[in-house]
């Protein structure tokens, strides 16, 4: 899962980045409005945390611009002014949620997690596919009710696939959402990761569509 954080306050940005990374998210940072707008326009994210008070271009304008360009990723706005008018105009501009400053990073994590889940159409915090369950609140994975240890990358891939169950997902999309931007896209780490997941969770869980990508399917109950 890849999250964009647009926040000009360096410390807040760093804290968010640390907390998000610790929860297995791939994090892109932008420290002013211009950079944030550009990244949101040109990369694909699973969620955006957008501060409203930004230098160069303010958050609300960025949000309106994205929505006008059909960039429909879920956006959480951070507001320090904390007036209802600002919250309303934020949501009317296309935000999905708001968090008032001062906040605790745990709350941001919970909201990001819920928002991503909601956007992909899952009501429950525990995503399941056959014997495999992923608790999005703490990133614990179980298979047949047995806990499974995962590396951050494995978890990132599984989480993305679980959120988009049934969809065929290309290697490029997967790479974009589980690696930092400067990743070498030609390498075969995706295949390696898929194989490791199959080894841990069973061979039938991830189906390969040659030339198209991967699909998470519920193993037939035979």
């Amino acid at each position: 899962m890849k999250v964009l954080v647009v926040e000009d306050d360096v410390q807040i940005a760093r804290q968010l980045e640390t907390a998000l990374k610790a929860s297995g998210y791939v994090v892109e940072m932008a420290h002013d409005g211009e950079e944030g707008l550009y990244k949101g326009q040109n990369e694909s994210f699973d969620a955006v945390i957008l501060d409203l008070g930004l230098p160069k271009i303010d958050g609300l304008t960025i949000l309106q611009q994205w929505r006008a360009e059909q960039r429909n990723m879920p956006v959480i706005i951070l507001t320090a002014r904390d007036t209802w008018r600002e919250k309303v105009s934020g949501l009317r501009a296309g935000a999905d949620d708001y968090i008032a400053k001062p906040f605790e990073t745990e709350e941001v994590l919970a909201r990001v997690e819920a928002l991503i889940r909601r956007t992909s159409g899952h009501a429950s915090a525990i995503l399941s596919c056959g014997p495999v369950q992923l608790d999005t609140t703490n990133n614990r994975v179980t298979c047949n009710n047995e806990p499974v240890e995962m590396t951050a990358l494995e978890l990132g891939m599984l989480s993305y696939l679980m959120h988009h169950q049934g969809d065929v997902i290309s290697k490029t999309t997967l790479t974009e959402h589980i690696y930092e931007q400067d990743f070498d896209r030609d390498s075969n780490v995706i295949e390696v990761l898929v194989n490791r997941l199959r080894k841990k969770l069973g061979n039938t869980l991830i189906k390969t569509h040659r030339g198209l990508g991967y699909q998470l399917v519920e193993p037939s109950s035979d």
């Binding site: 306050d9 320090a80 007036t83 209802w84 949501l91 949620d97 008032a100 605790e104 009501a123």
Partner: protein, 448 residues
């Protein structure tokens, strides 16, 4: 017509002066007419007097006699009101046959040859006007006084007819004048009425400022009013911008401190978090107060509740999407808050947010206007707040449940703002099961 109104003042003064003028005119005209009629009457009497004097003769025996009797029938019919009489000194020596056995009593004129008019009472106490003249008919030195009297009833009748006609004419004239004055007042005061309408439009938000095409007498006031509105708006805007900047400047470091403190294990970390929270709460509460316009006395202070409730509801439905809370409005249309829109947003926002946070599945917002007091009720079907805890949540930064996110300031901020507007916030048990928050605020009467 309202007693304390310009229209009333102008109307009453005009009616008073018009009536006064017309009454004086009526009196003067009546006096003039009476004089005119009397002069006419007197001229008639003197004509006949001349005739009688001409007829008066002294015989060779020194006896007085009338060489002819006036032919006018009125002097011959008994008690006709028309009489003549001739005196020699105090002795009556001849009378008209209309007098019968009565005599006319009058004061003998003093001077020789001077004609004179007297008012006397004749037979049957009839009021008479009498013309007198002394004529020396012989050389005896005795004065002969010729008198001719006519009843004044004819004058009175004429004057009465005249005053009746005059009265009707003047009343018609008066009504005409007052109607014209009413029209004049309406036309003259039209700019004031337009000003009132324009103020109403400003209050209801139909226009921003008063137009500047009023007559010169009113325009300075209008300009001042606009300036006052500009000023108060600018003040509020500046205060809000500064509060916003301050909020931004304080809350970012507070966020950082809180999150760093969370990383510190043990008591030291906990103390830092606690203090950062306390600072955050103070900042929140005092900034929310500083942001408040807190007054419904500025001109453009009338806020329709419905659109604001719609906005907040939109926000809530978004934020609490997972829980699909049904927000029901009842009778919010055409109710206006006498105050600042942003203040109402804060109050309604906090109340509805609180209700949604604790609701099972339903939140109800209703409102009413009683005697210019706006009563906003927000209730939910959650678990509510126990009676003994209700006072606690209204105090600064108190939270009953630390597991639900929020600063715990919501209801306290609402109470602060309501107090600024001389309103109140009461917490009760809702029939829906949860909390029923009753917010009382000044209502704007949009019919001014």
């Amino acid at each position: 017509m309202i007693r304390n109104s310009l229209t009333f003042r102008l109307f009453v003064t005009s009616v008073v002066w018009v009536s006064l003028t017309l009454v004086i005119v009526a009196i003067l005209l009546t006096i003039m007419f009476q004089q005119h009629v009397e002069e006419h009457f007197d001229a008639f009497l003197f004509d006949h007097l001349e005739e009688n004097v001409a007829a008066g003769r002294i015989g060779e025996n020194g006896q007085f006699f009338m060489s002819w009797i006036p032919v006018d029938l009125r002097f011959n019919q008994p008690l006709s009101g028309w009489y003549w009489q001739v005196n020699k000194g105090r002795t009556v020596i001849a009378t008209s046959s209309s007098l019968g056995n009565d005599l006319l009593t009058f004061q003998l004129p003093e001077s020789e040859k001077d004609r004179e008019i007297q008012r006397i009472l004749g037979p049957d106490n009839e009021k008479l006007r009498i013309a007198l003249v002394n004529v020396p008919l012989d050389n005896s030195g005795q004065r002969y006084t010729f008198a001719i009297a006519g009843s004044v009833s004819i004058i009175e009748l004429d004057v009465e007819d005249f005053t009746t006609d005059l009265g009707i004419t003047l009343i018609v004239l008066g009504i005409g004048l007052v109607s014209v004055i009413l029209l004049q007042i309406r036309f003259g005061l039209k700019p004031l009425r337009l000003l009132k309408d324009a103020l109403q439009d400003v209050r209801s938000g139909k226009r921003q400022r008063l137009p500047d095409d009023f007559p010169v007498e009113v325009q300075p006031t209008v300009r001042e009013l606009n300036a006052v509105m500009d000023h108060s708006e600018a003040l509020l805007e500046r205060a809000r911008t500064q509060v916003g900047d301050l909020a931004h400047a304080l809350k970012n470091p507070l966020s950082v401190i809180k999150n760093e403190a969370n990383q510190i294990q043990g008591e030291r970390g906990a103390i830092l978090v606690e203090k950062a929270d306390a600072m955050g709460n103070y900042v929140e509460r005092y900034l929310s107060r500083a942001r408040a316009a807190g007054s419904g006395n500025i001109v453009s202070a009338s806020v329709h509740i419905k659109p604001i409730a719609d906005d907040i509801s939109y926000l809530m439905k978004h934020v609490y999407k997972d829980r699909s809370i049904d927000i029901e409005f009842s009778s919010l249309n055409n109710l206006y808050f006498k105050g600042d829109a942003q203040d109402l947003e804060e109050m309604l926002g906090n109340l509805m947010d609180n209700a949604c946070k604790w609701a099972g599945s339903k939140v109800k917002v209703s409102a009413s206007n009683k005697n210019l007091r706006l009563v906003l009720v927000v209730e939910d079907d959650g678990t509510g707040i126990a009676e003994q805890d209700r006072a606690t949540v209204l105090k600064r930064g108190q939270r009953l449940d630390e597991t639900v996110p929020g600063s715990g300031l919501g209801l306290g901020i609402v109470l602060d703002l309501a107090t600024l507007y001389q309103g109140s916030l009461t917490l009760e048990q809702s029939s829906m099961g949860g909390l029923r928050a009753v917010l009382e605020l000044p209502a704007a009467d949009n019919n001014l």
